[in-house]
Amino acid sequence: MIPAQHQKLQVMSHAVVGFPTLDENEKAIAGLVEAGVTMIELQVPFSDPVADGHTLVNACYDALKTGGSVKATLELAAKVSKKHPQATFILMSYLNPLYRYGLEKLFEDAAAAGIKAMIIPDMPVEQIEPWLPKLDALGIAPILMVTPNTSEERVAKICASARGFIYVVSRMGVTGKQTQWGEEFEAYVARIRAHTDLPLAIGFGVRAAEDLKALTGTAEIAAFCSKYIEWQREEGSEKAAAKMKQLLVDSELA
């Protein structure tokens, strides 16, 4: 379930579909749910993921070799959403694979596969707007991003079209590097809050229990993604799940 505003911090984590393999995705997701993660992004691997840092770029390349695709993502979504009804599955993809699939069909098939929200980092709000009636009818929340350099006027525009939650990119840059939390960051979050009643997800640079503690009380969702994929790559999905469980204990979110 997507939390309501001011509910306790929830961790959102990640799967790159096909990384390390399609079979292992299912086990890894079961491990995350068992560890207490209730929101999971299913990333369609892409050849040119420009908003991602090296961890996710390399996972994408590997996933493409093992059969990761839009179709594989929808098949995985159908399985895991049925198996884990308590978890919310979010489709994350760059635009081109979805565009090639056909956006209308994609939205319909994603809804049928149990997808509740969608993050498309290179699809600006202007491109999402015409699809809002369709997405609302299907019950899919378009998750829009705001960044530290987004103007006040544009934050308002984004918040008006956003559904589900707002993805607050914590800092400049791409995924996979540490963020400094502090007064400046708090002011940035407050600036976004002024425009919306939706819960806020903080992403980019959430890499340890200290980060989750820092975000408790500030946001409703924390995206713990690149670091988890690093664990998966280095130690396998089973150990990565155990680490996730420990992380939630250490950050007092279990």
């Binding site: 420009v50 839009v70 081109n96 565009y99 090639r100 290179d122 600006p124 984004i158």
Partner: protein, 420 residues
């Protein structure tokens, strides 16, 4: 001059970027739309090209070759005579003027053959800017002499190890850098691709080529040419050569893409011919991309690193779809033949990229009559790519020389170590 409708050319173009890059693109667009209509800005730009890069570049008649081929009179627009040896410097000098107005102190660029990277390093040295150049690791090997000079000029050259390790990945990496540094850094995009306003902005600066070409044709031929031919990688030299002729429908415009080894996927870089590129949205814009059914961008090949790119200018996608630009391709073998022919008949050493335009242009010229005229845009020179071109013309004496030279370099390095 061609103008976009809110960043679109027909159905192509647009701005599909992560939110973080939007403010910089909007700033650039606002600045560009103010300056493009200011004649004094164009004068400032042309003056800079004159004093720094030797413009106008000549329009050279190929008298011997035209006679030998027996068709149209062939003329070369000599972009190879620019400072740095290619047309890339035009766009870079123009963007340098924008960087000065923005007050930014750092620039980044992607580069394939290294020509755009080299031009950016030259501009940065001249203006006292810090430059970081992203280049595919495979391209670094293919074009090491350009890398050598970029570093000597003070630029940082970063090898990109992901994917196919060519231009596409270098562009991705430049966008990632920009996402982190956009408030202090300008991205000097090197071709007429990417998110709006880059396709239009790069075309605007490169249009100096066809502005001169048109006047020179009137002066030297006495009328407009019957055809203009250019090679197409991203499309900046082609858009430069075509843009002032778009309304002159008597002038046929021919864009020659890299036919590589064959039409099989991964063996060429043809995007505009049937059964090659398809509509896609990636790297910030909509155009014809080589891609698979799942929308994954494909692998490319060309003998010329500068044409080895998966997308193409959205303006050219549009103009080829409407029929204003005729798409053609030349294989690696045809390119080498054209290269030799120009060199031995006219004493001009072309870049392998530009040799695609020669191959396509010579073919076309043979089908035309001697009272017709074709202008081929010679986008760059080949003499400085000696390592790369030596690959295309293997000779034992060159290999033996390299072995001796490697030994001398090794000895020199060891002697220097000893002194420390």
């Amino acid at each position: 001059m061609i103008r976009s409708e809110e960043g679109y050319f027909g159905e192509f173009g647009g701005r599909y970027v992560p939110e973080i890059l939007l403010p910089a693109l909007q700033e650039l667009e606002t600045m560009f739309s103010d300056l493009r209509d200011d004649p004094s800005f164009w004068q400032e730009y042309v003056g800079l090209c004159q004093e720094f890069s030797g413009r106008p570049t000549p329009l050279t008649p190929l008298r011997r070759l035209s006679k030998e081929l027996g068709g149209a009179q062939i003329w070369l627009k000599r972009e190879d005579l620019n400072h740095s040896g290619a047309h890339k410097v035009n766009n870079v000098l123009g963007q340098g003027l924008l960087v000065q107005r923005m007050g930014k102190k750092r620039v980044i660029a992607e580069t394939g053959a290294g020509q755009h990277g080299l031009a950016t390093a030259i501009m940065s040295a001249r203006l006292g800017l810090q430059a970081t150049i992203y280049m595919g690791a495979d391209d670094i090997e293919r074009q090491y002499s350009n890398v050598f000079w970029m570093r000597q000029l003070g630029a940082e050259v970063v090898g990109v190890e992901t994917g196919a390790r060519t231009l596409k990945e270098a562009l991705d990496e430049a966008l990632r850098d920009w996402a982190a540094t956009v408030e202090t850094t300008h991205y000097v995009l090197g071709t007429a691709c990417g998110p709006a306003p880059f396709p239009e902005l790069v075309t605007y600066f490169q249009s100096v080529i066809s502005q001169e070409m048109k006047q020179q044709a009137l002066d030297q031929i006495g009328r407009l040419p019957d055809a203009v031919c250019a090679c197409v990688g991203g499309g900046s030299n082609a858009m430069g050569a075509f843009s002032n002729f778009l309304d002159d429908t008597s002038v046929q415009l021919i864009g020659v893409e890299a036919g590589g080894r064959s039409f099989l996927p991964g063996e060429h870089s043809i995007r505009m011919l049937p059964n090659t590129g398809e509509d896609g949205i990636a790297q910030g814009y909509k155009t014809l991309f080589l891609q698979d059914e799942d929308g994954q961008l494909g692998d490319t090949h060309s003998i010329a690193a500068g044409l080895d790119y998966v997308g193409v200018s959205p303006i050219l996608s549009h103009l080829s779809r409407t029929g204003r630009v005729t798409a053609d391709s030349a294989t690696d073998t045809e390119v080498i033949e054209a290269f030799k022919l120009l060199m031995k008949t006219e004493g001009i050493i072309p870049a392998l990229e530009s040799s695609h335009a020669l191959a396509g242009g010579f073919k076309r010229a043979k089908e035309m009559s001697p009272d017709q005229h074709i202008v081929i845009n010679l986008s760059g020179r080949g003499d400085k790519d000696i390592f790369n071109i030596a690959h295309a013309f293997p000779q034992p004496e060159w290999t033996q020389f390299l072995q001796r030279e490697a030994k001398r370099a090794q000895e020199l390095e060891e002697a220097t170590k000893g002194e420390k």
